[in-house]
């Protein structure tokens, strides 16, 4: 459902009713809805966490923003311009401003080439006429911006560098262009604890210099550390979104509440109680026609209500929930 009719200033990146549907089954008869009518936006110099577990569609959303996967329906707008379907030159121009970094640092590099080859590719594709001196200066300032020592990391193969260095390298690559928006898809989940924080701090620093980041993760504490706004995804639908502090400290959706209760925290034990377990039946490709969380929801209302998909309703300023129980309470 689009938010047409509301007067909102154009944010840097807006997703408007975006969906992704895959054809599955023999002869493509059935359809699998990976992303279902997702809308949210990211403003200037803002870090938004996209939080979801496996199967939530968060990576698919990242890929759609990066045009690595096509959009089935809906629209994505970048600085007000519709960029849902781009080809050729327009797409390349888009990549000057929007880039991505992925989860596995070692998979992001071609193992048979040196790591800094990724810089050369950028030069060939985007700065074909730049002269060497100017280019080397650009690389230098990029590297320093991400906290890498050029003498230590240039001219080496990926396996000679650590995961943290490789991720910083990728961020440096994005900085070589004129990036305004970065999609960070689980970029630190494969790093060691002691290096994670360094990269995380780097992202926060870049944000204060004007970069907007979509921080995709399943780790709630990381999202809390770094983002202003959080969007909670479940099975392709946005169930709750709003300012991070609000969502974490006053979760409204049953799924969000469950997440907050189950995340293991240092210094706080899990609440004792019955071991709740769900034994899902074999995954169904079709999305249930009602609320996606219905079969696991401990507070599901009467079947008639929850059998229609709830829409996102603003319960507090900036804090949206998609749950009939909440909106019923409201009214």
């Amino acid at each position: 459902m689009s938010r047409a009719g509301r007067q909102v200033p154009e944010e840097m990146l807006t997703l408007d009713g975006v969906s992704k549907v895959y054809r599955v089954g023999t002869f493509g008869g059935k359809s699998l809805v990976a992303v279902n009518d997702v809308s949210f936006d990211v403003g200037d110099s803002e870090v938004v966490s996209l939080i979801g577990e496996s199967g939530s569609g968060k990576t698919t959303i990242g890929k759609m923003i990066l045009h690595l996967t096509s959009i089935s329906s809906g629209a994505i707008r970048f600085n007000g311009v519709d960029v849902s379907r781009l080809n050729g030159r327009a797409r390349k121009e888009y990549y000057r401003h929007v880039q991505g970094v992925f989860q596995d640092p070692f998979s992001s590099y071609n193992p048979i080439f040196k790591a800094d080859r990724i810089f050369r590719t950028i030069r060939e594709e985007f700065f074909p006429k730049i002269d060497s001196h100017e280019w080397n200066e650009k690389i230098d300032s990029s590297m320093r911006a991400v906290g890498l020592n050029p003498d230590e990391v240039l001219n080496k193969f990926p396996h000679q560098l650590s995961g943290g260095q490789l991720q910083r390298f990728l961020i440096a690559r994005a900085l070589l262009l004129d990036v305004q928006f970065l999609v960070a898809d689980e970029i630190i989940s494969m790093l060691d604890a002691s290096t994670r924080v360094g990269v995380l701090n780097l992202l926060a620093e870049l944000k204060s210099r004007g970069l907007s980041i979509l921080f995709i993760t399943h780790d709630l504490s990381l999202g809390y550390y770094i983002s202003e706004k959080s969007v909670i995804l479940y099975r392709g639908c946005v169930v709750e979104m709003g300012p991070t502090e609000q969502v974490y400290h006053h979760p409204l959706h049953p799924y969000t509440k469950m997440l907050m209760a189950c995340v293991p925290r240092l210094g706080m034990k899990w609440e004792c109680g019955e071991i709740e377990v769900t034994n899902p039946k074999v995954k169904q490709p079709d999305l249930p026609s009602g609320c996606a969380y219905y079969d696991r929801c401990p507070v599901a209302g009467n079947k008639r209500d929850c059998s229609t998909s709830p829409s996102l309703v603003e319960v507090e300023p900036g804090h949206f929930v998609a749950c009939w129980r909440q909106t019923k309470q409201e009214s």
Partner: protein, 317 residues
């Protein structure tokens, strides 16, 4: 002591030489203790876990020994270990979910496994059913193929399987890493229940996620680059640790309640050393803010207070 590990040293044979994955590790676990083993990549926790049950090439036992329930555990001898595996020592391996043969029904697989250990499946069936109840799996699971179960269900099935013969020592290797947050909680709590009901005596929980250990472990063993850094009860490790690495590690963990704008966390600069030619003495000294000349000599793993072991010349500084 239920498990006693003495001076265990295990290297990996590679083309380029020997990787010193585990160096002179000595520690003990009491009966009924759930010990978490935590550390970053390359610390040796998986090597240690594997050595206790399946020390196979390219791993090589250099020296050291293990006793379980006051009897020697012949970890260096693959043949003799067969009598201990599954009965005295059992493991829930990493990616256990993929450990089940996809072409066999689960019940058949269980029967085969028990038969290979000379245990009659039928006689254990009632006990098996009781345990399936505990992990909230229905008996129908025995008639299904692995592909019909979800990740969390498979993990629980493997847990039941690994503890069928009530081993003295259970090694759980990264059993929650690949699970969703709710399954993580369920599986971790089940592990505790298994111990409480005596399905296993002592448990080693290998993971990189210390917050999970905080929830379920009695003690935590922190490892770094193949050496033991610190072992203490969970609360002590988290709130009053004495090893500089432990202190820095705990402080790098972002927690819900900590935001960048309020308090910037600091990582540990640098990276773990390569273990082909490991540094002499304490392997953390290159990154340690408290390092001094004595650190060139490897500090011993000593008990500084009751049940609290630290390997650092400046313990408590």
């Amino acid at each position: 002591m239920s498990l006693q590990v003495k001076d265990l040293t295990v290297y990996y044979q590679t083309l380029r030489g020997e990787v010193h994955a585990l160096e002179s590790t000595t520690f003990g676990i009491a009966d009924g203790e759930i010990m978490g083993m935590a550390g970053e990549s390359g610390c040796g926790k998986t090597t240690l876990g594997q050595s206790l049950i399946f020390l196979h090439p390219p791993m090589k036992l250099i020296k050291g020994g293990v006793t379980l329930d006051n009897k020697e555990l012949p970890i260096g001898d693959m043949e003799r270990m067969n009598n201990f595996r599954f009965k005295k020592v059992s493991i829930i391996p990493q990616y256990a979910m993929n450990a089940m043969n996809p072409t066999r029904k689960i019940g058949k697989m269980v029967a085969d496994l028990l038969k290979s250990r000379n245990v009659d499946f039928k006689s254990l069936l009632p006990e098996l059913k009781r345990r399936l109840d505990l992990v909230k799996l229905s008996y129908d699971v025995l008639n299904m193929y692995p592909i019909e179960l979800s990740g969390g269900m498979k993990q629980r099935m493997v847990m039941v399987l690994s503890t069928m013969l009530n081993p003295s020592l259970l090694i759980a290797d990264e059993i929650t890493s690949a699970l969703d947050v709710s399954s993580q909680k369920a599986v971790s709590e089940m592990l505790v229940q298994f111990r409480d009901r005596g399905y296993c005596k002592s448990v080693i929980v290998i993971t990189h996620d210390i917050s999970v250990l905080y929830q379920i472990a009695d003690t935590i063993l922190i490892m770094y680059a193949g050496q033991l850094a610190e072992k203490a009860p969970t609360d002590v490790i988290v709130h009053s640790s004495q090893h500089p690495y432990t202190k820095m590690l705990i402080s790098t963990l972002p927690e819900v309640g900590v935001r960048y704008v309020e308090k910037q966390l600091a990582g540990i600069p640098g990276g773990p050393p390569l273990l082909l030619k490991p540094p002499v003495g304490c392997r953390f000294r290159e990154r340690c803010p408290l390092a001094f000349e004595k650190c060139l000599e490897k500090p011993p793993f000593v008990e500084t207070e009751k049940d609290h072991f630290v390997a650092c010349w400046k313990a408590g500084a």
